[in-house]
Symmetry: D2
Subunit: 344 residues, 4 copies
């Protein structure tokens, strides 16, 4: 099976290349970068030295293949989608261009009118844990928002089971610097970024739209999202505060999560009574496709705190995308995603 | 004026020594450490080389002086207080032993019955921004909880003005490793602690008690506190979510903060329209006694997000304590607290 | 094939468990920890959740198997070796107990008389790049010193080809905190260790002995080693300064390295004319078994600077050990060592 | 006394502004930035909020004052020097434009012919520890190179006393990211720069020229310099390897350092027998003007390792410059430089 990556010089594109280069059933035949065309992929992603001898090509040079991953900036894929479809019958687009079902959300959150609203119906939100069946048969699968993924996977069982009072969540995501992409700026300049805990989107984060969409099990949720940048390169920890309709104890909550996620290969419920690792930590999942989820009932109120950790470039982007590809083509879902993370 | 520090080998004690060693009106005459007695203070706090030649003494060796700072573990000061009072007529105790007014809070949050409840009435909570008048005349001033300080200072104007719906706040504190003290453990072992974003008290944090007490302007607030450890040594960023009773715009909220804090030397309202530094950051206040406070109105709901940043060892402990001492003795309040922080 | 790990609760032992748990031809049947016996391996190494359900056993419970990895503190394996040999016919010992050929080096560098000097002749230094043939047939393979590995691999071609004036090298290793092991101490306490660049062994580092041994191609070298701790968890960068006998240009030096390492699966010569990644970096090899080597000729003198980067827990310990096992049993040498590292 | 800073939006310029804003005898009346003219200084250096209300002006707007600090890129000051001298009778230039005495060094190391070689004779290298008398009377004082400063101060006593064999030193500087200035680039992009130990100038570092000049006590030294970037924002640790002519013990070396530096307010000899802080560390001097110097004799050879730590923006730039100003105007040399650094 032949696959291409469009926009492979960025962090998400590079991560897909890394994963595919170790995928036993897939041949990565092309990786584009308009600005680096002609250069070795490994000159931009130095971890891939001795792993791939591929050079970047241009979009104009794309040759027919079985699947294309699009890892372009938001707003770019939407204009290229028909062209891409002519090159490959199946597409996984990692931008936000096909994540939202309601076309009215695009001007609200992304500042543009969606030119192909009919495709929004065809596209499937690429989280296998929620849409495995649809992904299997889709030609167009949307990648996921990294912060959104951590919140959605953390809360979906609770919302699905109707356990959350007022359908409201206050979610605070703490993100590593790779979530900001590969383009340097003053905000990402090391002396300015190193060691910060920086509130960068206290309100108005675009992923709110995705989260509302994916947690709406019959009723639209109220999602209060805030994002804070922390000192790490990869990783997201989301701390989500919900209030329970009924006074559920730990066991009852466990049961809900186990029911929904018991068979999921990439979700681990992390909740230990003691020790250093009793809740999820992004450091532990860095490089892996895991989403670790934990929770704690507030003994002084009806609050439930749900904590989830992912690697933003993996489960929050490239990992879920490759997982979706595995689903689309009937491969074992964990293929090329077996890396377990490091300790320490 | 002669001053002593009891428990000077810890981080807070060392910070008080550092501040006092540059204080023009105060002579630091003794600094105790039971385990390091006889050793140079600078052998434990190497930044103080060439600054002080003081050696640690023992509590048993304390000589009369004008004021004692107690920087002992929680539960230690309460048993020593009468002894200490015999040595110095005025005391600033940095533990939690005299922070709470209600004796019933001690068994609930700290696990012990308070043996001197009458002293709880005499003690003043040592945040000059809230209790300047009382501190001036107190013989016993309590230090402040670091996480509590960031939340209290961030929200006091809103609660005082009765602007918060249901008197409820969901507050998430992100803390540096020095907040855990100077004793090594697996959780603080560098390979385990470096680079983490670790949820360590999703619920049940003791500072809840202080926050409730200090934000109770007539009515008891509902404080939902969570604490997350981040990769930094000094610093706290608290992100506080409240819902407004009335739809206030930025200007109206500014006005409230300016009214309460306009003359405060250590509070800065940080809210810029653009740029990297538009919200408070603990990195920028590290080493200083500032509390930077910012806020953002959620355009999609009635939520107001308040963000406050302090150095936990300074404004959250030693800095506020020295500030309180300055108030108690009529010194210029900023004396020895002028350090402005570094950039970058 | 059945394998066991003795001392699996430390970082090196945990890393071996991680590697073996993904090894297709090996079954990890036992992992000992005297202090954690009975607990899940994944409770100590949380990255292994959902990967292994093994529990720690005790040395006393070891059952016969095909190979044992010993990951015990220096001086422990030497006393247990005959006992271990009775359990498994082949052993890879990761301590320093069997690294040195000369028994006189043990009192000098490790402070003990070696009780089994005859075994020192049987043991093979476990760096496949230098001793592949001998490893194949050895029953006892010694693990490698992490700092030593980076220096040895960086310089072996130059010393082997007799290019170094006075056989002297000044080598400075910069090490991450995991090289200090898993036991907490004041030096490793996060507030003390975070952000440091700390000279901790300017002279007298024990790995000097190994380096001298492995770089002695006919003549004993003069190795001036210094070690500095840096802010990272995994990784070593060694900067080695040698003076050339003859004025070799880049091409000539390239040729020497290519001759020695051209077929090595885990050595990459990294030397680019421009860009951010033109020299080796430990960050890029973290988690992988690569040793990246680069060099630069000083245009103002006859100095050659050789730079080499490894992950101390991988190529500097567990990775080389598993590589050695692959050699011993005739597996493809890269088996279970394919992880390529992350970017960023 | 009125003072101005030219080029105040960079890190060194900002640091001078910070120091002067707390200087009791100096009034900072102007701070220029061509790109930020009109904006508040505190909008670029957020630590200065509430400390200064100064706005950036342009060079064209400079008004006469008593002294100007020039903090411009290399090669800029040399063209402006006569213009600046017309504005202020005394100048401290922090670039490299007036550091070197030999005009032939400029094309060699900095790539340009020096247009005013006669000024090189008038300019004084601004390290008070070496040139206090000349600084006092100079109209033009040159700032110092940060890496150079750490090496020069570490080794000057040894070279002055003629103790170093072959006048040779192998010096490895480990630098924080602020040494690279305030302009973002891929190399400084946080995901790329965070956690690295990156060899960026293994040979050919420009500061070689300064070091050779300042360590030439009668005989030109051989300086083998290498520079490695580490994970820290502020700070330099230099590890310098020299070989001793005679076998000096610790006491004899101590005596040499004490003779040269015994009265220096900003130099501390750090050499303790045990403990975590037995050698100099940049973390401990961050924000301060200290240069901490330690050493260790290699028991296995005639090598002496000298370790020195500074804050590159302070003792390595702005701190030394303000110290020089204090000398020039007869102020107490430590004025405005009293900050002692933080622990932890």
């Amino acid at each position: 099976m032949k696959v291409g990556v469009v926009g492979a010089s960025g962090y998400v594109g590079g991560e897909i290349v890394r994963l595919l280069s170790a995928h036993p059933y897939v041949q990565l035949v092309q990786a584009t970068s308009e600005s680096r065309a002609g250069k070795y992929v490994a000159s931009v992603h130095p971890n891939l030295r001795k792993r791939t001898t591929l050079r970047f090509s241009k979009i104009a040079d794309l040759e027919p293949c079985d699947l294309l991953f699009l890892a372009l900036p938001h707003g770019r894929a939407v204009g290229l989608i028909q062209h891409m479809r002519a090159i490959a019958p199946r597409i996984v687009d990692l931008s936000a261009d096909f994540r939202l079902k309601q076309k009215t959300e695009y001007p609200k959150w992304y500042g543009y009118e969606h030119p192909h609203p009919s495709l929004l119906e065809e596209a499937v939100y690429g989280l296998p844990e929620l849409h495995r069946q649809q992904i299997r048969d889709a030609w167009l699968v949307s990648g996921v928002g990294c912060l959104a993924t951590s919140v959605i996977l953390g809360l979906a069982p609770l919302f699905k089971h109707g356990l959350v009072r007022e359908h409201m969540v206050i979610a605070e995501g703490k993100l590593g610097s790779s979530a900001g992409g590969s383009a340097p700026s003053l905000a990402s300049h090391h002396p300015e970024r190193s060691g910060v805990v920086r509130s960068y989107e206290p309100t108005g984060h675009r992923h709110t739209a995705e989260i509302c969409q994916e947690l709406a099990f019959g009723k639209s949720p109220a999602v209060m999202l805030s994002a804070t940048a922390c000192e790490m390169v990869r990783g997201i920890l989301s701390t989500c505060h919900v209030f329970l309709k009924h006074d559920l104890d730990d066991k009852a909550i466990w049961r809900v999560y186990r029911e929904e996620y018991g068979d999921e290969p990439f979700i681990r419920i992390v909740k230990e009574r003691q020790g250093v690792y009793r809740y999820p930590e992004p450091k532990i999942v860095a490089g892996s496709n895991f989403c670790d989820i934990g929770f704690e009932r507030d003994p002084h109120s009806d609050r439930l705190v749900v904590i989830s950790a992912i690697d933003n470039l993996m489960k929050g982007a490239a990992g879920s995308a490759v997982q979706a590809m595995n689903v689309m083509f009937g491969f074992e879902e964990t293929t090329a995603l077996e890396f377990t993370g490091l300790h320490p």
